[in-house]
């Protein structure tokens, strides 16, 4: 959920003249000393705190801009015809498929094709595009959607995702190609893509609804904004990394640019591009819950609603449905691309038998479609077997039991972390005068990464100052840092364990995979139940989101340590602890640094979501800005501040990683 997935194009090189270690140690000490001293003396002054309802000129100006747009909505040619046209087109397509597959096609009380027909068709399609294994997966997944009680929402989500991904491909492929071929395009588009991925969707949700209306079009556009960048980046990366020898060989035979693109670059980058489409699809799914806030159709709706009513059972069940959908789409697209490759190789793969099965299957599917248009039982998904209700009830009971049993434990844990870590750190960051705090941040940026990240940080800090939300930003920085710290610590413990113990790895990895696929909204609900609303709850949610990736990276890093070194160390009589601390961790340093970096970014991307459960700071402002008209400008400004904070931390981490990550 952020800048993390993009292939790093330029490796920042450690700058010449980086301070030697000893000197740096002194400098860090001195910085902390000055900071603590300044905090002790000047605490609470010049903190740039802004009251809840207070607005700066900038916020009011943003409100004004929004109002101008709002007022121009009905008169401006651009809004009426261009934006209006786009939004009508998307709405029409989505509604068409909805009435075909999922929603009652008025005046019919049911869709044109009932569930039986949809299952038959999609299963057949999976067989046609991939293989029987995918067909089986699709078949089972679809039946699960229905018996979990979310047939309509699931198919809706499938439709919205499909439409969004289709548009992504239409826009993203040419853009990616263009970026691969033009340095100038890369330079111009990279910051735009960064912004699209780091700007929290909440911040532009309300204006989007203003332009594209409430419903499918806005949902698709929101999804598009977030899901497009990975596709563009991976496409450009794929084309750029086509073996230069092959390209040169082709040039030596006198190919034109277009020929090189069509005959060499695109075919050779095909596999990477498919990975891009796959990533785009996953990103699109992860936006489902956010789009639900402007009534985007799909599985996000029950999740968002469950959050509203603290219905942990429904949240879990609909979350499971999203996970199933993610697995289904992921595996099927992968299988389809593999089949295409295999078929290209072996000529007509499967031969006659496959055609017979396809034909017969198609005929059966058509019959079932007809049946599903005729009989009600085949049109409306049966209420039994109902897996959803018992599952939901079970989860609710389990959580209730957990909450009551653990109440004391969870409360004291929350209080401990809050009093021992969050509050002091927040005071240190937010109560220090802004100018001193800014200098401290710049000093750390310099000591960690050198001049370049310091310059970038200076710009970002100026932007944050300009948003008028310095104090809120420091509060957000506090929760981000605490969450990152917890992520790194837990990832180290679990990751080292997994890296050293194959059985632990096999047991834990699927759990981590699932955690990564579940939309973050879903674990807000149990987090809320366990810890009620607080900054700590937001931190727990962020940790749950950041731990899987960091743990996997560290586990892989430990596993990647050369077995020869481990063997040599063992031969020298090393204990297990010595092995970890003196051999495996130091040798896996690059992975640990990368894991911290990614953990930080994942945590940061949860700031807004955390705002929904008491995270405070910028996240809350973005949420409030989405909800209340007069706070719109402030919310958007908070979105900008989050982006600036994100870019600043990302760059510092990147440069620091380049400097310290080389083992």
């Amino acid at each position: 959920m952020s800048v993390l997935d993009r292939p790093r194009v330029e490796e920042p090189v450690p700058e010449v003249g980086a301070p030697p270690r000893l000197k740096r140690g002194w400098a860090v000490g001195a910085t902390i000393f000055v900071w603590l001293g300044g905090w002790a003396l000047l605490r609470g002054t010049a903190t740039l705190e802004l009251g809840g309802a207070e607005l700066t000129g900038f916020h009011q100006w943003l409100n004004g801009v929004r109002d101008d747009f709002d007022a121009a909505r009905d008169t401006s040619f651009f809004f009426q015809y261009v934006i209006g046209g786009i939004s009508t087109a998307i709405d029409t397509v989505v509604t068409f498929f909805q009435e075909l597959l999922s929603q009652p096609a008025f005046p019919r009380p049911v869709p044109e094709i009932g569930w039986l027909g949809v299952v038959a068709l999609l299963t057949w399609l999976a067989y046609a595009l991939a293989a029987w294994r995918s067909a089986l997966l699709v078949f089972v997944s679809l039946l699960l959607f229905g018996s979990l009680g979310y047939w309509t929402d699931s198919i809706d989500l499938l439709i919205v995702t499909a439409v969004a991904v289709a548009i992504c491909v239409v826009i993203g492929l040419p853009t990616g190609i263009w970026m691969a071929r033009s340095k100038r395009a890369t330079a111009a588009l990279t910051p735009v893509l960064d912004l699209m991925q780091t700007m929290p969707a909440f911040a532009y949700l309300a204006p989007l609804a203003l332009f594209f209306g409430i419903g499918p079009a806005s949902a698709v556009v929101t999804t598009l904004i977030y899901a497009l960048p990975p596709l563009v980046r991976i496409t450009a990366h794929g084309i750029r990394t086509v073996a230069p020898t092959t390209l040169e060989a082709s040039r030596s035979l006198g190919t034109t640019d277009v020929q090189a693109l069509r005959k060499v670059q695109l075919p050779m980058a095909k596999r990477t591009i498919i990975v891009g489409v796959n990533q785009c699809m996953m990103a699109a799914l992860s936006m489902a819950t956010i789009a639900a806030l402007i009534n985007g159709p799909g599985l996000g709706q029950p999740v968002a609603q469950a959050l509203q009513s603290l219905d942990i059972g429904s949240a879990f069940v609909s979350g499971i449905a999203i996970v199933i959908m993610a697995i289904m789409l992921d595996r099927t697209t992968t299988a389809a691309s593999q089949r295409a490759e295999k078929e290209a190789r072996a000529g007509r793969a499967g031969g006659r038998r496959r055609w017979v099965v396809l034909g017969a299957g198609g005929a059966v599917a058509l019959v079932l479609v007809y049946v599903s248009r005729t009989y009600l039982w085949a049109a409306e998904f049966p209420e039994r077997p109902d897996l959803g209700t018992p599952l939901s009830d079970g989860v609710t009971q389990l959580t209730d039991w957990l909450v009551t049993t653990l109440e004391n434990v969870t409360n004291s844990l929350k209080d401990l972390v809050t009093y021992a870590l969050i509050n002091p750190l927040e005071s240190l960051l937010a109560d220090t005068p802004w100018w001193l705090m800014g200098l401290v941040i710049l000093a750390f940026a310099y000591l960690l990464g050198g001049w370049r990240p310091t310059a970038i940080s200076a710009v970002c800090l100026l932007v944050i100052l300009g948003t008028g939300l310095w104090n809120e930003t420091m509060k957000t920085l506090t929760t981000t840092l605490v969450a990152t710290l917890i992520v790194i610590l837990s990832a180290l413990v679990v990751g080292v364990w997994m890296g050293r113990n194959h059985r632990a790895d096999t047991a834990i990895r699927p759990l981590l995979d699932a955690l990564q696929t579940i939309p973050p909204f879903v674990y807000l609900v149990p987090a809320l139940a366990l810890f009620s609303t607080s900054r700590f709850t937001a931190i727990v949610a962020a940790v749950a989101y950041g731990v899987p990736i960091a743990t996997k990276l560290i586990a892989d890093g430990i596993r990647g340590v050369s077995p020869t070194s481990v063997e040599a160390a063992r031969a020298a009589g090393t204990t297990a602890w010595q092995m970890i601390s003196k051999v495996q961790l130091p040798m896996a340093r690059a992975a640990v640094v990368l894991a911290s970096n990614q953990g930080l970014l994942y945590v940061l991307s949860m700031v807004v979501i955390g705002g929904l459960v008491g995270g405070g700071g910028l996240g809350y402002l973005v949420v409030a800005g989405f909800s209340q008209a007069q706070l719109f400008g402030k919310g958007l400004a908070a979105g900008i501040a989050i982006t600036a904070l994100g870019i600043m931390l990302d760059r510092i981490a990147q440069y620091a990683a380049a400097r310290y990550g080389r083992a």
């Binding site: 020898t245 040169e248 060989a249 030596s252 035979l253 190919t255 034109t256 005959k263 050779m268």
Partner: protein, 360 residues
Amino acid sequence: MTATTISPVKTTESALSVRHLWKIFGTKADKIIGSPDADLSRQELQAKTGCVMAVKDVSFDVAPGEVFVVMGLSGSGKSTLVRLLTRLIEPTAGQVIMGGSEITAASESELRELRRHHVAMVFQHFGLLPHRKVIDNIAYGLEVRGEGKTERRQRAQEMVDLVGLEGYEESYPDQLSGGMQQRVGLARALAVDPDVLMFDEPFSALDPLIRRDMQNEVIRLHEEVGKTMVFITHDLSEALKLGDRILIMRDGEIVQIGTPDEVVAVPADDYVRDFVSEVPRSHVLTLRWVVREPRPGEPVDGPVMQAGVIVKDAARAVLEAEQPVRVYDGDRFLGVVDDEDILRVVVAEEDEQPEPEPQP
């Protein structure tokens, strides 16, 4: 630069003519040429300007049908040089003339025409298209210049037969061994029927045995199709084996140009001498390099041999002859060679060469 070259080539009939070719990588590279900086060593230049001198003021001619080998260690600029010839890398300065047309002045479309019809290249890492079958890889050059499917299939099939890939037409490159892949690369280059073939270290990624096969294949093809070839290698024995003439490069500059026996017999400097020191001289040198004036009173009625005969091949005859052998270059009498002269070459080599030379 060496003065010992006996050039059999005149500029007017050259298949390829290169004049004062430069390539300097880096910004403002063109400013360096003609300035005192151009005389700095490569390291000094890089330290001072950040620019890298890849090819420095190189001139040479290649005769039609000649196999011209460019040899040097890695980093000597040889791979850059061959790419400058068809402007796969843009030269910083200088002229390249191929078949009478000046490549360095060609427009983008003229250049494309030239690449499509007149010159083709074989690459070290093959550069095959992994998503295409062997036959379609070979036909690729024909395809991009717009030939119809039947013609190009037919032509590609001929090339398949020529390089010995029968039965592999429908395979994909990654299903073939390295040697077979390079045969595909070779066939692809030959398919467009170019005037000049360029090889960029084509066999250095292959096993020694396969490398020898492929070298023989090139010799065979050269005899069959008689193309002009520019061959880049870092392997001296390959250069000596294939080359009609050899250009030795170091740090972007020409160290020596000459025929194989010239290079071995009169190395231009210590660098080349070091290079050729391990070459079995008797395998390379011809009688021309051991012939001497008859000593006073020496009999001059021994058997007659031509100057171009390689020492190794002449050894038995010379040693068996009663009289010193008379050496002629055509009709011209050059001098004589006796047992001792032959042994000097062979024995000098024995100091370094463990394998004993066959003794009579």
